[in-house]
Symmetry: D2
Subunit: 374 residues, 4 copies
């Protein structure tokens, strides 16, 4: 693991997620950009002292030489470091699980694609919401045409935690996320809007063709956007909207997707992840539960418990790690991986996300003109 | 009443609404454009034969001469007739309650404003969703700054009933609503999008400055839009989105409003009209019930029953008629009307609605360019 | 109308309900036990002075002699007067719509049955919750065996308004409802528990065989029960529970019914009356909307509006009056009434309710021993 | 771990729960009553061969002699084995985490209490629902008198999975749970009713004084109860009801608790575990989220993630293991344990559960007579 030291949020989540299904052990880490804090933090996590690295380049150069060297590195640093860290480990021949957004520029993203391709490595991207069973259920239902031709896609991801200028108080999460040097030029758009975009594409299997975006900075003096509204046009002709905000008071982590086709409509909300509303034309709406009647194979693959026993954020995140483990084991055994495990978002999804962010930024600079995503 | 004969939907609603609070009696009508059907239908409603008119002009010219002539006419015809009917009754000195949209062109709308002003008549517009107690509650809360400065307004009004080309089957409601000659150039946008726009403006008290719209005709060969996505910018700087659709399978009559300010966020849904979610910054979300704790004077004015005894669509509609009755009585008694009754939407709201429709149509024709609403 | 003067709640509801569907006109009344207040109140409701009666016996003796005498009397007095008023009007040959509970003793109830039978009159009982479309839907579904054999019936009706001793403050509704001389020996049990019992029987069509009840008086010094828990055994072998309370803080008017059979389970809640949850064995739960897909004929009979346009308490109450109108018209025309209109609860339901109340009171006095209801 | 081999449900849950917070490692096991299957299963879990035991007595006698012997044994066998296994490990000086019900007879339960007391060992009981943050939140709110004096307690735990005689199909979970020799004399009552009872007592801190129960066997020829309705009286005078069923079609794992006091009411549902409804007298209901505003210290202790990031069943279960770890560490370090960790249900809760089961069985045999629980 690189990043994820004291005070970080997502690093601890990655560790729980990797542990839950008993497929990974954390054996080496560089948890902080400060070498001393990095080593101390690693020892707290029971990592052997010689694998508690002071900087990530040392880790990338050392681990490949070990008999029990790491199979994969988790990159959980602030955004601006993703590129350098990922490149170092890829060049060292190590698989990667990287936080999103992939990089802070499309250029860097494309460079990583090239490296990963050349080294033939597995590159998972932590679009963790795709790990939810009912998201997978929805994807399969779309693929099997239960919704029919998609006509409208409405997606939103809203939070409230930046409704006041808490970055001024030194809150660590807020400080780096509102600093363009660490987060990149996109604020809310990159931090959570990219998840919303990814989710819509993951479930529908559609390509977004162009966007018309209106980015706002609601809180005075904030240096990045904190509220973003986007019109979407898909290659298939479907239309959509994406709203993402970090100033929507009363919204905790409201990622919500609604898709309407000519046969049915579906609705899923991250805060009630175990159920999926499905409304077929001319039939009453039904609520499909994870592991309940009408749950499909994709949902089953990502479930651990019977219906009525809630699974949540950690379990969905763990699914990405389980899928990653399956891919690594399959490659090591030179066998094809279980096809369900191939749903793990990868570097191509990262590039798509970067294209979306770039296009939305450009559109907003051009007063919401339609800008191509492809 | 003009319009609202056999097979009509909204005419019967107006009659129940007018009757509920015992402030009006239906005594004269021209219920159909076919004189014979008009008279027959009127007799079925126990209207005296001499006031069962065969055409609306005759009614407009006859009623003013009666000692017990009508106080107000309800106009519930297809959209393209609103202008001519309203003008005839206004010129005859009769108050009007008119269905929305006010007219089919902005030009006509402005003309009616002139006539109504000149004749000093009351002109209510049936933006019936403003009659819901919790919509009034929200409006008062906004006015009293409980939400603070409005930052974001998300409104949607979605239905499913036009997901298939049912106008081809001769379904009467669908036929006229998808015929530009009867409904005007806007389809879904005018039919229900105008309600959504009105609701957002009614509750926030904000003026919309410009819109960027993407109108779609999803069902092949339909002659009007059936899915509309709009970005909104308000004069205050607030941003918003409006989505309206009549092809959203699984949505019955989903009118939903969310408003976020720097102090709080609120959420209201027409299908659960008796409650309002209110989330103040740093406090848990609370659900305010009509007639329950924290219900305010505006809600009380529009309520008939204690909390837990659901009120619905007819009651909200009835509120418009009760407010209209109060305005008429006040004018007849030469006293000021109860200020709560002044919330009845009027011809100015109708003009605002026409401006919104015009701007959205133009924006969509210009590939979603921002177009001024004012 | 007898009862329902100033300060009363249910009288005004009856008037709105009778008016909504345009089947009744209020032409005579004795609205208060105080003759002067009675007459004044009647004039306020535009009743002709000669039919603004000072006492109900005068009204019962006068009305039958009029050419346009009343077709039906609505009895909305406190409970202890139901018997005398109903008897007077029945003996005068006038149909009755009576509030529940039918009387305050089983003896009186049986006497009314005898009079009504002898005079061959229509006697509607205001178990108004049976007027909800989705309650009717559920009843039909049960009758058509969509739930299969009923196994378990859980019903509850809970409120919070008596959580404090507000009868001490003089609040009129609370004063008479907590006074055994006016309400009868049962408090919460008779006031709302009887509705819950009726609803369970109405929907299932089952007879309750015996009850084991635990009545409590939670608020000190209150003179009647305010929280009641009852075990139910039905003749068919089905088991159930009934909970009714007026001290359940946070509950407004929470009447809720759940029924489980060997084929399916259903759930309905009065505060969201337009939908019915239906879960068939091995299928996902579905939400059936009034007027939506899967709504049946019984629901359609009791609906006025399309799905998504909420109907509520007044509309359900109005259904009882519409069914009463149909029964009266049918009898006047010597034709059979529309079978849907026969769902109007009648005096036999009132007797069943009295039997339930008597049995529950006796059970509680005997430390929750099982007591026969039949 | 003893029990929890292939086909078992709860054993795998215990393993995930123990692993999630990184406080335990599974190093020894006897996973099946069949020695061979036991060893094979252990190897699949990466347990060293010499600690893959063929029977639990061997494990209990061997482990204490090891330098790295187990700190605690998890007992996840069918109910009838809890007693013998627990006794063996307690006598060997090993702490225990045991599935509920504690034993199959009250006598056995009291014997275990004696052994545990004598050996001064920690004995955790897997009433896992007490590990949910919002259950802990509710308990603290009750303790701090935010609800005031408790008046009414309504608890239910309902499932559908035994609505048909699936034990006849050989389904492993159903077979042992409906076999009195393996599950004890109580079926649904012991399996899930005991959780409901425990939850009510845990949150309120009240002692139940007596019960009046009606046990039913709904599915023909089933050998244990599958639907149970119980009236409750608490020592404080509070009243309550408990309903538990495994034939309630449409219910997955519906554990739900509602408590009403003189100051407020609360409501919690296991299927939406991250929120708690709180209704204070005279205030609108509010929804308290885990980690959101108004979340208290008890909730924080049991939370891992910010609000809006759902936690579920595994996390709640993991909390018990984390609390157990803290108690063990504290004892090893001869320091007092963190007081929050003392909320782990223990053997006394197990005895209370056995008393409840015994009393309910006796009551039902005596036609629902009130039977003392103490």
């Amino acid at each position: 693991m690189v990043g994820g030291g004291p005070g970080a949020f997502i690093g601890a989540v990655h560790r729980m997620a990797a542990r839950l299904d008993d497929r990974f052990e954390l054996v080496a880490a560089c948890l902080s950009s400060d070498p001393e804090r990095s080593r101390t933090a690693a020892l707290d996590l029971h990592i052997a002292p010689e694998r508690a690295y002071g900087n990530f380049r040392e880790m990338a150069s050392t681990e490949p030489g070990k008999a029990d060297g790491i199979d994969v590195v988790s990159i959980v640093t602030p955004n601006h470091l993703h590129y350098a860290v990922a490149k170092a480990f890829l060049e060292a021949g190590i698989n990667v699980m990287c936080e999103k957004p992939l990089t802070t520029t499309l250029q860097d993203a494309l460079d990583l694609v090239e490296v990963a391709r050349r080294r033939r490595l597995i590159f998972g991207l932590a679009h963790n919401y795709t790990g939810y069973p009912m998201v997978r259920q929805a994807r399969q239902m779309l693929a099997e045409r239960e919704i029919g031709d998609v006509r409208v896609v409405q997606v939103e991801y809203t939070q409230e935690w930046l409704a006041t200028p808490i970055e001024k108080t030194g809150q660590k999460q807020a400080v780096w996320r509102t600093d363009p040097l660490q987060s990149g030029p996109a604020g809310c758009l990159g931090d959570i809007g990219s998840h919303a975009f990814n989710l819509a594409c993951f479930v529908t299997g559609l390509k977004c063709q162009e966007v018309a975006a209106d980015l706002s900075t609601i809180v005075p003096n904030r240096r990045v956007d904190d509220n973003v509204q986007v019109l979407l046009r898909f290659e298939s002709g479907a239309r959509g909207m994406l709203w993402t905000s970090q100033v929507a008071v009363g919204n905790q982590n409201n990622l919500r997707l609604r898709i309407y086709g000519d046969r049915a409509g579906i609705e899923w909300s991250q805060e009630e992840p175990d159920c999926l509303w499905f409304s077929a034309l001319g039939k009453p709406p039904m609520m499909i539960h994870r592991s309940g009647p009408a749950a499909n194979a994709a949902a089953a693959h990502a479930s651990r418990l019977p219906a009525g026993h809630p699974e949540g954020y950690i379990e969905a995140f763990a699914q990405l790690y389980s899928d990653l483990a399956e891919q690594i084991c399959a490659r090591q055994a030179a066998r094809p991986a279980d096809s369900s495990a191939l749903l793990l978002p990868d570097i191509r999804d990262g590039v798509e996300g970067m294209r979306f962010i770039s296009a939305a930024l450009e559109s907003s600079q051009r007063n919401s003109a339609w800008i191509s995503v492809t």
